[in-house]
Amino acid sequence: MNNRTPIIELRGAPHLRKAPSVDQIMRNVVYALLPICGFAVYQFGLSALALILATTLACICTEHLFCRLSDKPTTIGDFSAVITGLLLALTLPPGFPLWMAVVAGFVAIALTKVMFGGIGFNVFNPALVGRAFVQAAFPVAITTWTPAFAPGRFTEFIPSTLTLPFVVPKSVAGWVERIAVDGYTGATPLALQKFGDGNLEHVTTQNADLFFGMTAGSAGETSALLILVCGAYLAVRRMMDWHIPAAMLLGAFVTSGGFYLVDAGAYPTPLFTLLSGGLMLGALFMASDMVASPTTPRGVWIYGILIGFLTVIIRLFGGLPEGVMYAILFGNAASPLIGAFTQPRVYGTGRKKATKP
């Protein structure tokens, strides 16, 4: 082409871009999750590995399938389905039957994402909806915990893992008894604390154990330190809004601290609250899900604190030992409202002008 004939192609300003693209962000979240997955596999062995693979594959396949069905180009390239799959696996008990994990993955993508128009429109965190669904559907299987660092975990599966589809999983009680050593039992620190022996004595796990992940629990929630480090990686790279985890941890800390001050005998210490259960994982990787959280600076704080508060309330007074999942889902549900009431004050408009919903 003659370079004297200009090619008319008007591009709008700005002509500079800086941001990481969506797939870059998503890929980095995956990188940040990989060490946690690695630790889960190290801790729980083959079953955790199978679980992670199962949910991830289920999520990817579901997304691909629906894209094919609706004649759209496949969207699995943006890694968001992978994130959903990994997060889902990390929140499930390590011995969770694989077929149930696949159900969870399918529900997560189909119900929360595809249904609403794909990435960017999932008003709830898909992984959590998937988990909440299987929690309601298979309440027994999802509260069956197995001990960490079981001997022979790299050579054999936890018996419940390989349950046939649509079949009740085998009881793992006998297996746990056989392999349990050094006092590692299947009970999670939270369950011990809540349903501890007798009605009054609460058994609390050592904070150091919680910090380094030497306990039973969901596949990827056990090591607070590792999760913090991986989350910090994202926050430093500005691929996660650090305000949300900060607000959520603050909310949980203050709420549980308040109760602890009122009655130190009945309530766990705030530190225990922060380190136990899925609070860390939820705060750093799920509540901070960009799509389902508010976009306004003030809204982000309210959202985080609300989730932290609800988590503690459900843990202390609810029927379940763990409340992070429900608290975050509630936060997701409330985030449009929070957003509507906390629109930023626009430059040059009155200071007190509240935006009417």
Binding site: F116, G117, V129, Y326
Partner: protein, 194 residues
């Protein structure tokens, strides 16, 4: 907490056994009036108000019926009382505050056919609540209805801007949303239960 503790009664109606999300009561307005935030808010307020009034009326009527051993007329009386209570509320609001009437007016007739109101009256009778408990129960139910309605409205406004696939557009997506909300509220089960 005891099951007849006032706080527990409130929480129970408010979030644990939310009228809309656990009992499916008041689904028509829940799906119909949740497209916008301000209408949802007004509808919630109107419902809460009517709930309070009709719950107290139903309490009185039930006392009379039990007194005269006429329990078999309960349903007929309740529905009549609720319908007239709504009318009365409408007239009173119109007189007292025309402004409020303008905001709530169009919702009031809708409320008459809202099964949550009748459901509230029936539940409180089955649970044999006393006057104060009825008051708290209806306040909780109304607040719970408003909460569910507002959450739904927020989500729907957000989804208005989404590229929702054509087959799930409309009511299907509302039901799925309600389902996820209901799933979320299951987390509150057992709250204060020990």
């Amino acid at each position: 907490m005891q099951p007849d503790d006032l706080t527990f009664i409130f929480l129970n109606a408010f979030i644990i056994n939310n009228f809309v999300l656990a009992f499916f009561l008041g689904l028509c307005p829940f799906l119909g009036v949740s497209a916008k935030l301000d209408t949802a808010w007004n509808m919630g307020l109107a419902t809460m108000f009517v709930m309070l009034v009709s719950s107290l009326c139903a309490y009185g009527v039930n006392m009379l019926l039990v007194e005269f051993n006429l329990e078999f007329l309960r349903l007929i009386c309740y529905i009549a009382v609720i319908a007239s209570a709504v009318q009365l509320v409408e007239i009173t609001i119109k007189k007292v505050s025309p402004e409020l009437f303008r905001a709530l007016g169009i919702f009031l007739p809708l409320i008459t056919t809202n099964c949550a109101i009748l459901g509230l009256a029936l539940f409180q009778t089955f649970k044999e609540y006393d006057f104060l408990q009825c008051l708290v129960y209806s306040a909780g139910a109304g607040a719970g209805f408003t909460l569910a309605l507002m959450l739904m409205a927020g989500l729907r406004v957000k989804l208005d801007l989404a590229d929702v696939p054509s087959i799930s557009r409309g009511s299907a997506i509302s039901f799925m949303l309600a389902g996820i909300l209901s799933l979320t509220f299951m987390g509150f089960a057992g709250l204060g239960g020990h």
